[in-house]
């Protein structure tokens, strides 16, 4: 019981990050039409940029202590958005009419470019990264009948959860109520239809790439204190983000968020059983295969009408 509660406490914030990663991946997949294998790697470079900016602020003596982190975060986020827009303008726009396979190859190439850049310009070493909310963990202890309950809640996870919640809600509002959200959804449903109502789909694609990689950078900054900063720091998060998107069914963006939460909790719950130790990823992927076979639209997919 206690182990289970503890698993959920750690799993939810972790899963929220997979979910946000998956949201961006699903957004690019639906709108721009490719699976972005470089998603976590460009975010990793943005995290390195953030870290360098923090150090630079320290050295220059401009901002002191923890404030340097908050001063550097906008720089990192902007770099994420800029990477996204540049990838779209310089690479994807040229090949998107050619074939989906060429876009996929480009994202694989970018993965290597980002990883190589990190190794060359920075270093393959593990660097530590400051937490948003530093300090000792919260410990909840039960009394009376619940005496055996003792759940540890990492302080930084509070920030992670709040940020993930605020971002999810704002994304939901943007997608539902703003013109750009409407354009993104229309573009994902039918690109020619979107153009027929006057939407500039090229511009929508740039916005989607920029937004998705900005989001990935947020995830990168939030996981960095745990994974530390190194070239493959987001490999696992990206893989599970893709998985979250598959689980949610690429058809609904918020399915990815729910999928991520499920994976995050599942990962920790499997951890409880010593016999299954080390098999977390294998079990999760086995479940994914089951989902793909029995519910290929994703478990949260709305009932689809017949295709036009």
């Amino acid at each position: 019981m206690n182990a289970f509660l503890q698993a959920i406490t750690i799993g939810i914030p972790q899963g929220a990050l997979y979910g946000l990663m998956g949201f961006g991946i699903a957004m690019i997949f639906r709108s721009a039409g490719t699976l972005n294998f470089s998603h976590g790697y460009s975010a990793m470079v943005s995290v390195l940029i953030t870290l360098t900016t923090i150090e630079w602020f320290f050295d220059a003596g401009i901002v002191e202590g923890h404030a340097a982190l908050f001063a550097a975060i906008p720089v990192g986020l902007i770099s994420g958005a800029v990477f996204g827009v540049l990838i779209d303008l310089l690479l994807m726009r040229r090949v998107k009419h050619v074939s989906p396979a060429s876009m996929l190859m480009i994202t694989l190439g970018l993965l290597l470019v980002f990883e190589g850049t990190a190794n060359l310009v920075w270093s393959p070493d593990y660097e530590s990264f400051p937490r948003i909310l530093p300090g000792p963990p919260f410990i909840f202890e039960g009394t009376g009948a619940l005496e055996e309950i003792r759940v540890v809640f990492r302080r930084n996870d509070l920030a992670v959860m709040l940020i993930a919640l605020v971002i999810s809600l704002s994304l939901a509002a943007v997608m539902k109520y703003t013109k750009i959200g409407l354009a993104i959804r229309a573009r994902g449903q039918d690109p020619v239809g979107a153009q027929a109502v006057g939407i500039n789909t090229n511009r929508v694609d740039s916005i989607v790439w920029g937004l998705a990689l900005l989001l990935a950078t947020v995830v990168g900054i939030l996981v960095a204190p745990i994974t530390r900063v190194h070239p493959t720091m987001l490999m696992n998060t990206q893989l599970l983000g893709i998985t979250a998107a598959v689980l949610g069914g690429f058809s609904s963006l918020f399915g990815a968020v729910w999928g991520g939460l499920m994976i995050g909790v599942l990962e920790r719950v499997i951890d409880i059983f010593p016999a299954l130790d080390g098999y977390e990823t294998a079990i999760i992927f086995f479940l994914i295969i089951l989902v793909l076979v029995f519910k290929p639209q994703g478990i949260f997919a709305p009932k689809q009408g017949r295709k036009a």
Binding site: K179, L182, A183, R185, A186, Q189, D190, V192, G193, Q195, A196, V197, G198, I199, N200, T201, N202, R203, S251, P302, Q304, G305, R306, K307, A308
Partner: protein, 229 residues
């Protein structure tokens, strides 16, 4: 109203449209006829800025830059694309609302679409992907109409429809004449000519014949040579 001169569209080495010129006047219905692969859709895509094209497209005397469909659409040239291209996961009403994305006031223009196609009002809340093919085509035309077009560009609105529905569709189109100019792309030449003022015949990306619709309908040689009837 719409003047196209020397329009060219290529996809890499493939030349789909080889410098065609035509006009659509105020209140006119003009047809472009031609076989599969003649370049009809490419012509419309070029005019609307959906694919890159060379040549000149003037709307009300003003040269269009055609960098994206936003510019022609907001000026009043509205496309109803081939194969319907509705948004299958959205409801009928959401589809129609999207029709006013850059032009048109939904509250004012929706009534017109609903009165032309009453089924759309009945099915307002239904997911568009679950409509029948004919209903989807009506939705596609309705979505173009809510943008309050000055020139409506229709790409094969009768494609894949049962004969009864085709007749109904053409009746609606003929009625539009009083309100807007129409550039109609069709393979169903007899139907198209019967509601058109003028027509052009497109073959391998070039205009091989043009004239007054009634005369073309009566010209046996032309019908045999180009329209396969």
């Amino acid at each position: 109203m719409l003047e196209v001169a020397d329009l060219r569209v290529s996809y890499g080495p493939i030349h789909a449209v080889n410098g065609i010129s035509f006009t659509v006047g105020e209140g006119e219905i003009v047809s472009i006829l031609g076989a599969n692969g003649a370049g009809k859709t490419s012509t419309l895509f070029g005019i609307m800025g959906i694919v890159r094209s060379r040549g000149s497209v003037k709307f009300r005397g003003e040269e269009l830059r055609r960098r994206s469909p936003t510019e022609p659409t907001s000026k009043g040239m509205v496309l109803c694309p081939e194969n319907r291209r509705i948004f299958p996961g959205l409801t009928v009403e959401e589809n129609l609302r999207l029709g006013t994305f850059v032009r048109g006031e939904f509250k004012e223009t929706a009534e017109q679409a609903y009165s032309l196609f009453p089924i759309l009002k009945e099915r307002n809340r239904q997911i568009a992907g679950s409509l029948s093919g004919g209903e989807q085509q009506m939705l596609a035309v309705g979505r173009a109409l809510v943008a309050n077009p000055e020139v409506l560009l229709l790409d094969e609105p009768s494609l894949g429809l049962a004969p009864v529905i085709v007749d109904e569709m053409f009746r609606v189109l003929a009625d539009l004449r009083k309100k807007m100019a129409v550039l109609l792309i069709e393979q169903n030449a007899v139907k198209a000519l019967s509601i058109s003022d003028r027509a052009y015949v497109l073959q391998n990306g070039s205009i091989v014949h043009s004239g007054e619709a009634g005369a073309m309908l009566r010209d046996d040689n032309l019908r045999k040579a180009y329209l396969g009837m």
